[in-house]
């Protein structure tokens, strides 16, 4: 009973925390809400007129939405990048920031599910793919697997974050026997969500660009540098704006790990490109379209090379200790990695997979205004979820706001247990 009452207190206090903030906080939330409104308006238009308002057609039947989905699954998976050293090697400086990684995973998953929702032609039937409620074509369909693992991963992270914060709020130490197995479970779960997402493309013999054995390893390698890139910038912001102390060495350690994964990612990309271009089978056309253009269509070429060059530059910046520990070059590196992987795992993955189409024709896909507006709205939802979670979590993690502390004197603290 006490727990229940405390939990309702936890809930209402969380609400109070997220609704009160400084001018900057309100401005940021207002900006996100504006983006969400724009996205919602565009989505209503899409609901009314159908997917014809997007630039997706029968030749390129997946586009910007699914590209963003794929990228964000990687971001969600990357939370383990922080959990692994923290718990396997018992490396203390990272441990305190793993909860931030888990919250990032939750936000990324919310965006993932959002992108799936806006991509389907009959969103009124989305319940068909809800596990237990709908009738999933499991274990045959990789999409069914993906829905299951993404939801489980969301549930797992949500539970761990809520539990840890609730313990901090009630000023109790968390039960290690409960948390440790769950956190350890999140490691294979994170690997599995991105592996399954890779298999979603990998298993299609009709699309040779994706039908490569190293697609899943490439997914993981790129995810493990893009997810932490977002976190590293975020950690610096949090250090400045809150009293959360994050040691420099934790940030540099993560940056070092990112250098290795980026190097591995570039190696895998090169291995893939060599196999395709040197053997020169008829499957080469997709790589050709991506890297050099085909039949005069060069839409993807600048993006593809930008992705490779950004990745390479970031790899060098993060490999050299002097640039890794310099804040300016570190942040440039983060942005470069983000850009590189966003192109590679987004449009750089989806579009050459479908172009040229099975008849050899080229349909040049460029997202429509609706697609960009809806995507912006979904990103804003994700950032909003993340912002609100952080707003409530940081004071609780710091012990500034608990069941007994952090209130103005007018608000009487609840009864002690």
């Amino acid at each position: 009973m006490f727990t229940l009452r405390n939990f309702s207190g936890f809930f209402s206090d969380t609400l109070r925390l997220v609704t009160k903030g400084g001018r900057l906080y309100y401005a940021w939330v207002g900006f996100l809400l504006l983006l969400i409104a724009i996205g919602a308006g565009a989505y209503i238009g899409q609901l009314k007129d159908g997917l014809i308002v997007t630039k997706m057609r029968d030749q390129v039947s997946w586009g910007f939405y699914i590209g963003n989905f794929t990228f964000l699954v990687g971001v969600a998976a990357a939370a383990i990048m922080l959990v692994i050293p923290a718990y396997i090697y018992d490396w203390e400086p990272i441990k305190e920031i793993t909860i931030l990684g888990e919250m990032l995973a939750i936000s990324a998953l919310v965006m993932c599910l959002g992108f799936v929702m806006v991509d389907i032609g009959r969103p009124d039937r989305f319940w068909h793919i809800i596990p237990l409620v709908g009738r999933l074509n499991w274990p045959q369909s990789m999409l069914a697997w993906d829905v299951i693992v993404l939801n489980l991963y969301l549930l797992l992270n949500w539970f761990v974050v809520t539990y840890l914060l609730f313990c901090a709020y009630t000023e109790r130490h968390y039960v290690k026997k409960l948390v440790l197995p769950l956190v350890l479970l999140s490691i294979p779960m994170a690997v599995s969500i991105h592996t399954v997402t890779a298999y979603l493309y990998n298993g299609l013999a009709a699309r040779p660009f994706w039908n490569s054995a190293i697609l899943a390893p490439r997914f993981l390698a790129s995810a493990f540098c893009s997810g932490p890139a977002i976190l590293l910038i975020l950690l610096q912001v949090l250090r400045k704006t809150t009293r959360l102390s994050i040691k420099d060495e934790a940030i540099f350690k993560v940056a070092e790990l990112m250098a290795y994964t980026m190097g591995f990612n570039l190696f895998l990309t090169a291995a893939e490109a060599f196999k395709e271009l040197y053997s020169g089978t008829e499957h080469m056309v997709y790589f050709q379209y991506l890297l050099f253009g085909l039949k005069g269509h060069t839409t993807l070429v600048p993006y593809a090379w930008a992705s490779i060059l950004c990745g390479l530059a970031a790899f060098i910046l993060f490999l050299v200790p002097r640039t890794r520990t310099n804040w300016v070059t570190l942040n440039i590196g983060c942005v470069l990695i983000y850009a590189s992987v966003y192109i590679e795992k987004g449009m750089g993955l989806i579009i050459p997979g479908l172009t040229p189409d099975v008849l050899g024709d080229i349909y040049v896909y460029r997202p429509s205004f609706t697609e960009i507006a809806v995507a912006a709205g979904i990103f804003a939802i994700g950032f909003l979820v993340f912002t609100l979670m952080l707003k409530a979590a940081v004071p609780m993690m710091l012990g500034e706001f608990t069941i007994t502390k952090g209130r103005t004197s007018a608000e009487a603290p609840p009864q002690q247990i």
């Binding site: 029968d58 068909h128 013999a205 009709a206 699309r207 997979g353």
Partner: protein, 183 residues
Amino acid sequence: MAMKKKRYALVIDSRKCINCKACVVACKAENNVPIGNFRNRINEERKGEYPKLSINFEPEQCHHCADPSCVRVCPTGASWQRKDGIVLVNYDECIGCRYCMVACPYDARYFNEAEGVVDKCTLCRHRVDKGDIPACVETCPSKVRVFGDLEDTTSRVHELLSTRRYRVKEPQTGNGPQLYYLL
């Protein structure tokens, strides 16, 4: 009549095709296919320059594969296959994710904008179930298409595949296509 196992297939003698597109029109009329979408098509292959030139026409539609990747990937089971091999979409189950379109090596499916679901050739099951032949087969003036049951050893398709050389498209995808092109 005793229920016997059936396996419907189409044998196509594309050298007879004159690109009149009667099959395309018949299909649209028979199945009320939306404007802008087609369930079958005629692929054109041009070669050479005057006076040494040639043009080949090759009708194509859903191959009603033996192991269809579109059915395998469907997250809800809306894409399904009848025992006689016809691959269909259950429109009430389809969520419109278009994974099947991505998985199809033949570009046989299209997105029905008005309904928000994926649609495709049904091999005119409403006609076939009455013992009729598909509209595209019936209408073809040069008898390019031959429709029949491969399990029935007296059928014309069985005879053609036993006596003539043929090829199937994209066999490397493992789909086991059931549109047989005579050589």
